[in-house]
Amino acid sequence: MREVAVLGIGQTPIEEHWEKSLRVLAGEAALAALQDAGISRVDGVFVGNMMAGSANHQQQLGAYIADWAGLRYANALHVETACSSGSAAFRAGVMAVASGVLDVVLVVGVEKMSDSPGDEITAELATAADADWESAYGVSFVALNALIMRRYMHEYGWQHEHFALFSINSHQNALHNPYARFHSPLSLQEYLKAPMVTPPINLMDASPMGDGAAAAVLVPVEHLHRFPPKPKVRVVASTAATDTIAVASRRDPLWLSAAERSARQAYAQAGVGPNDIDVFELHDAFTIMSALSLEACGFAERGQGPRLALEGEIQIGGRIPICTRGGLKARGHPVGATGMYQIVEVVQQLRGEAGETQVEGAKIGMTQNIGGSGSNIITHIFRVD
């Protein structure tokens, strides 16, 4: 196995890009990453995307994106694991480079959601759940998270307001990220008064959709001398684990077993523990997922995720800064692209390029991308020398 480094990163702003298509967005991020890496050719292209087949009537994303980005003849394919598709594509790229099969790999996460009406997107998001036993009964993806959150509040005694700081933190950090969907601070009052979406989840518990793409270039560490010099950001752990596709089938629906397994394996691969992580980009699709991810990864005791937020430990300068570029809540959640945004943001942190939200002296960063309601969870750890 060869050690893998991230040589280049690129991203587009997340918004409703009415004038840009799926491939234009992917191409922008891809070209930005190639330019950042100082290269123009790659051996492989891995595309992470969840819903282009239905939302954009386009499959074959490997050839589609490679062709558009001027990378034809490259080995190219599409990887899908619902909301964790971006990280799944990245992990596929890591495996290709680590194994020695490919030398230079471009990974692009892209999602173009604004081409379809809202109720169709809601139905498409629900395809991440179990079609026969969840979606067939009219259960939306938000509803599954609401079912988890209600039970979590019931069992551990939390009130809705105790989740506010997850969203407030994300909005605060997004103020300084030019690629973020929102650049507006969120007050406790605004959080509490936000319209109820699917109780107990209100509009300010939920991440916004959007169109966007983010990309990275991977090369073996042993080839780095061939490329223009960059901070040496190594992928020191890449892990993935699955759980039941339906929430109802889990032994404990309030515990992300796949997050726990992938995190535990990632710590072992990297030879670190939760206390060594300087910055953590987690999957705050809903505030409840922030709490569950922090617990499963060993940053908080079971049922105590909100306490970390209440004690100020998730902010820049806290014990475990999360969502430092705005997270899903305020940077935005273009589903299949999200994992790649998380990775690009951690690389920014490790390179010292995170500006106003730079975590001082960050050396080790972690990302965790949750597919479905917890059914396919991918964790990466990065380290800068």
Partner: protein
């Protein structure tokens, strides 16, 4: 609507037919080929009583495509008395507030209908509050 897909699940949708594992005796719903508890093959049919309690619930106002006409509606995780938890809509609530732990029972109701006048109607299980039986 994809008719064969729902037709082949009619025993589950109409009668809550699941499985009992011949190896560890755990009850399983929905049915699957491998017991999620012990990992052995499980294909012995078992019909659930349809009684359970609300494990969690929420109400949808923004429904997925195909369910707009039904909105708002309440969905729940229902813990069946035999053990498994299943996802279903609650029905016949009237103005009764839903609570975690509330006893419910299975009934057959319309789940979804196509827009066209002669469209397919999908029936299946929902759960309603257990009626108090007068003494």
């Amino acid at each position: 609507m994809e008719i064969p897909r729902h037709w082949r699940l009619k025993q589950q949708r109409y009668a809550l037919v699941g499985e009992v594992c011949p190896h560890c005796e755990e009850k399983i719903f929905p049915p699957r080929d491998v017991c999620p508890y012990c990992g052995n093959e499980a294909k012995t049919q078992f019909t659930f009583s349809g009684r359970g309690t609300v494990f969690s619930f929420t109400t949808l106002t923004e429904a997925p495509a195909g369910f707009e006409q039904a909105a708002p509606y309440t969905v729940a995780l229902v813990k069946l008395e035999e053990g498994p938890v299943i996802t279903a809509q609650l029905t016949d609530l009237g103005d009764r507030p839903v609570e975690i732990g509330m006893p419910v029972e299975m009934v057959t109701r319309k789940i979804r209908a196509e827009d066209e006048a002669r469209g397919v109607i999908l029936y299946g299980y929902k759960f309603r509050p257990v009626m108090e039986t007068p003494k």
